[in-house]
């Protein structure tokens, strides 16, 4: 992968100045030093520490071992939330990527009014997830929304009210998420497509490679930068999924659309059980830490191998 994060970690840009210590640079980046250290290091350490305590509304240091984690994983709310985030995450990611890519491909066919289409596809990204959630909740409202509207037209059996059924509510969320986010995927992918050397397209044509195969086997692998950006945006968005669900279903019906991030917030606010909330928060961090560690290892190994080759 060649996205931002990797370049950031892997490419050790040649030190441009070595001898003198650039005090001005240190002063200039003081906010970064403070924030990255205190928020993304110290605060996270505290999160982990508190997850081993029985902190109620206020943080304490009364350690209870793994009790919070035992409870966490035996709570059906959490299990449902974890299942949901996987399902929601994989679904939205796949649909978003495929739909966004298709849109970009179709947009790339020399169409008329491209800027009009682009604006239409992109505008939902400017809307907050709260607004998105409310708008879709309204459209999917069983009594006043799409369903009733179509029934009023005479098709009285028409049923489309995903949000009110346990099994389908999450699809409603996925649709709203796609609506909000696939435009930006399209924009990035389109930029990626346009960045592909036109002569490669010509070469493929002369080789007689069908268009779909050219996209699949030649162009997509050449768009790794764009794909990396899209993945970065989508993945970080998915892990934090909160606003959309909060506005659209509040985790319902029942607990059918609960999400891990909502679990955390619920426990540190309403349920006044910070220890439990912090345990859930730590679990949320785990996959991210894991991915970053694996990547760090992979890039170092790659760098070493490249070193041997060179």
């Amino acid at each position: 992968m060649t996205d931002v994060a990797t370049t950031a970690i892997a490419v050790e840009a040649p030190a441009r100045r070595k001898r003198r210590i650039p005090y001005a640079a240190i002063i200039g980046t003081l906010p970064m030093i403070i924030v990255s250290f205190s928020v993304f290091f110290v605060a996270i350490i505290f999160v982990v520490i508190w997850s081993f305590t029985n902190s109620g509304m206020f943080p304490g240091f009364n350690f209870v071992g793994l009790a919070q984690y035992t409870r966490l994983w035996s709570t059906s709310l959490w299990q449902v939330a974890v299942n949901n985030i996987w399902f929601f995450g994989v679904m939205s990611l796949c649909v978003n990527l495929v739909f966004g890519f298709l849109l970009a491909v179709f947009m790339d066919q020399n169409i008329k009014h491209e800027s009009v289409f682009r604006t239409i596809f992109l505008y939902p990204f400017s809307m907050s997830l709260v607004v998105t959630g409310l708008a879709w909740q309204w459209i999917l409202d069983p009594n006043l929304g799409l369903q009733e509207s179509i029934r009023n037209l005479g098709w009285t059996d028409f049923a489309l009210a995903p949000l009110v059924h346990r099994e389908t509510a999450i699809y409603g969320l996925v649709v709203a998420g796609i609506w909000q986010g696939s435009g930006v995927t399209m924009a990035i992918m389109l930029a990626g497509l346009r960045g592909v050397d036109q002569e490669v397209w010509k070469a493929a044509k002369i080789d007689g490679i069908p268009t779909w195969r050219t996209y699949l086997f030649i162009v997509i692998p050449m768009m790794r930068g764009a794909l990396g950006t899209v993945l970065l945006l989508q993945l970080t968005g998915i892990v934090r999924t909160f606003d959309l669900v909060y506005a659209m279903t509040s985790g319902g019906p029942g607990i059918a659309t609960q999400m891990p991030a909502m679990y955390v917030i619920s426990f540190i606010t309403v349920r006044l059980n910070v220890g439990q909330g912090m345990a859930a928060a730590t679990m949320l961090l785990l996959p991210i830490a894991l991915i970053l560690i694996i990547r760090a290892i992979v890039t170092t190994v790659q760098a070493r191998r490249r070193g041997i080759n060179a």
Partner: protein
């Protein structure tokens, strides 16, 4: 060669442009795009027509119908009259609060992030990379994970629930992505520019303000768009950190929509929803082109 009649040039067989078999492919492309556009437009359309209807008309549940008697009363109500509890001020205070939060947050976060990106590209000191990697990690950390320690930290410095407090929170959480953006942008500039400035005797700050900053317009536009929409649309931080007197518009919207006075006023709710989305919408309509270009140029080097 076919038995086609000889043409003017005296050569038989195909000549000129390949006849268009009014390619079904083209039709398909436009059909796909138009259907997709409808999918994207329907919510906006429904919100708009609903917000222009009166409640009795809304209850007829023809969400696609144009309003019979268009009225902008719901918009006026949403902006100035709608109630949350005893307060019947509509969204207007929230609007100004959002402005109060967004403007300084955007400025502060972009200044800090651009300095970060600049220093990380040209003034690497020992340890800089470590802090940057922490930031990159921070880009992936769900806000909810660190929100509690930040509440505690903010209360220790007496900034919880204040305007400076919420500005700091937005700056903190905008920093990872913005720093990555600016760092990538500056790294893609030719190092010769930096060297020339150094030879001319410019120091850290002079080089930044006189040379780098004026060159950063494209990426700054992207950063401004991202931050304005991100901060304007924020819900979680507003809910937790803003304090009562700074309640942002999104939060007020949510309060208004979830509070019902008797029967739900869908028309007012929709007007309120549209009003809340208006500022970022306008920003996108006006500058969406730059955003697309900038995100292609600045965000990621493939």
């Amino acid at each position: 060669m076919t038995a086609e009649a000889l043409d003017a040039t005296g050569f038989a067989g195909p000549h000129g442009a390949k006849p268009k078999q009014l390619s079904w492919g083209r039709v398909g492309i436009y059909a796909f795009l138009v259907i997709a556009a409808l999918f994207f437009l329907v919510p906006l359309y429904v919100m708009l027509v609903t917000s222009l209807k009166s409640m009795p008309e809304v209850r007829e549940a023809h969400i696609f119908n144009l309003p019979r008697e268009p009225t902008i009363q719901p918009w006026i109500d949403a902006m100035f009259n709608a109630c949350t509890g005893r307060n019947c001020t509509g969204l207007s205070p929230g609007f100004w609060n959002s402005v109060k939060i967004t403007v300084p947050s955007v400025i502060v976060s972009i200044i800090i992030a651009s300095i970060n990106g600049y220093a990380l590209s040209f003034w690497k000191y020992k340890g800089a990379e470590f802090f940057f990697n922490l930031l990159v990690f921070g880009a992936f950390v769900p806000y909810q994970v660190v929100i509690y320690p930040i509440i505690i930290g903010m209360s220790k410095v007496h900034l919880f629930g204040t305007l400076p407090g919420i500005i700091i929170v937005h700056t903190i959480f905008g920093m990872p992505l913005l720093t990555i953006l600016f760092r990538n942008f500056y790294s893609s500039l030719p190092i010769e520019i930096f060297k020339a400035a150094r030879i001319d005797g410019a120091g850290f700050w002079q080089t930044f303000f006189k040379v780098m900053l004026p060159m950063s317009v494209p990426i700054t536009v992207v950063a401004v768009i991202l931050q304005v929409t991100g901060i304007w649309n924020d819900f979680l931080f507003g809910l937790v950190f803003a304090g009562t007197e700074n309640i942002p518009m999104t939060l007020q919207l949510n309060n208004m929509v979830k509070t019902t006075q008797g029967t739900i006023q869908y028309d007012v709710n929709m007007a309120a929803t549209m009003l809340t989305a208006l500022v970022p919408l306008i920003i996108y309509f006006v500058s969406g082109k730059w955003f697309v270009r900038g995100i292609a140029a600045g965000a990621v080097k493939g």
